[in-house]
Symmetry: C2
Subunit: 231 residues, 2 copies
DNA sequence: GTGTTAATTTCGGCT
DNA sequence: AGCCGAAGTTAACAC
């Protein structure tokens, strides 16, 4: 990895056009040729960048660029599209390279899959007398997250999201339409379960007779832990 | 901005739990206290990070950490949540700081907002006699991009996309259904406007009586420029 | 500030 | 390889 601190201006041309005026920034050139341009603030997203696969070529500045104080020009061309990045370097404060090797990668825990497992294990969170039929119940248009029965024995399809928005309601609606055409399953009611439900999604869901349930991940995990402690 | 190249392991605990095994990486500490951990590949997204507002404290490694070869520990705590990042540094290959100053920021051109503004300013692109009612017309299920009236005075809802896909047609359909239930607005017709419209989206739209309009960004900008030149 | 949508989204899983 | 959905999404913008 090459790390350069330099005063530079940048132009991107591809899916859109973008320009960065002259300022001092950090330029990162990774082993795969990708380039990141960071300022001293903002978030993890660079001001500008080129994703791999791409190639970086260092070319000589032309006459007018030299007159403007440009000492080097980087042309970063994407391998499979017309996306192109042009970095004009003025003063270079630092230019170093380091051998980092291949990264072993990130290990994650606590995403939607986890939420689905916890709700399936504690299905009575949806109401007394609820019983799990199965997780990932397959339909011709995709898997329903959880299929269960309520206290009265009626079938209930559950769609789980971390953040419940309109897309999730549409998804559940499609499943319900399809399943209610199946005389063996019908009638099937819907539950939209999420850690957070957007007002617009709630409006749409309730308008369609779908119940909304807000899940608390820590509560579910808490039940899980306390139950484990009993054994 | 501080840039460190070091062999390190990282633990994140907050919205989820994540762990990075020992390896050599680039650590970036920005002026606002945010921290980015990059490997020599992937894309612009760091392996792990902490977004501002947050504070970074360098603490002494405990006895067992010293035994493992840890020379320093960074604790990065988010200011408004329980999100925390713990970086255990082993060998430090490089540790430099640079004053970058405030960045003037990126100038973009050619995104959807720009397209929407241009079409609103030149609403007769949709037909002679069209008049703008308003942009971002709010409904209970979200904002309609543009609401206008045709030459006959009938209300028209416009959905704008850079790339016209089926999702966009579904979105507009929902708005139209809702608005046509409102006796003050009905009847409302729809226009699906995009720089590029997929054949499937066009078929679906036209089947539902929604007119499709392909927008030419450069043309709209051209009109804009020539009009500005008149004054 | 809250809330919603777009993004040069990126990333992962599955068909 | 393409499609679909999630993400510690982040960023811009309207109310």
């Amino acid at each position: 990895m090459r790390v350069v601190i330099a005063k530079c201006s940048v132009d991107y041309d591809g899916r859109l056009t973008a320009h960065l005026p002259l300022a001092t920034r950090l330029l990162m050139v990774k082993a795969d040729g990708s380039v990141l341009i960071h300022s001293d603030g903002g978030s993890y997203k660079p001001l500008n960048w080129m994703s791999p696969p791409c190639a970086m070529a260092e070319v000589e500045p032309d006459e007018s660029e030299v007159a403007d104080g440009v000492t080097a020009v980087w042309v970063v061309q994407h391998a499979k599209s017309e996306d192109r990045l042009r970095v004009r370097l003025h003063e270079v404060h630092s230019d170093t390279s380091h051998d980092l090797g291949v990264d072993p990668g990130l290990v994650k825990d606590g995403v939607e899959a986890h939420l689905q497992r916890l709700l399936a294990e504690h299905i009575t969170t949806l109401g007394d007398g609820y019983t799990l039929t199965r997780r990932e119940f397959m339909t011709p248009i995709g898997p329903v997250d959880i299929l269960c029965k309520d206290a009265a024995g009626a079938t209930v399809a559950v769609e789980i999201k971390r953040r419940g928005d309109i897309d999730g309601v549409e998804q559940l609606t499609r499943y319900l339409e399809l399943m209610n055409r199946d005389t063996h399953l019908a009638p099937v009611t819907g539950v939209f379960a999420a850690q957070q439900i957007k007002p617009q999604a709630r409006t749409l869901a309730e308008d369609r007779g779908i119940r909304c349930v807000v899940l608390d991940y820590d509560d579910l995990k808490g039940i899980d832990n306390s139950e484990h402690r009993l054994f």
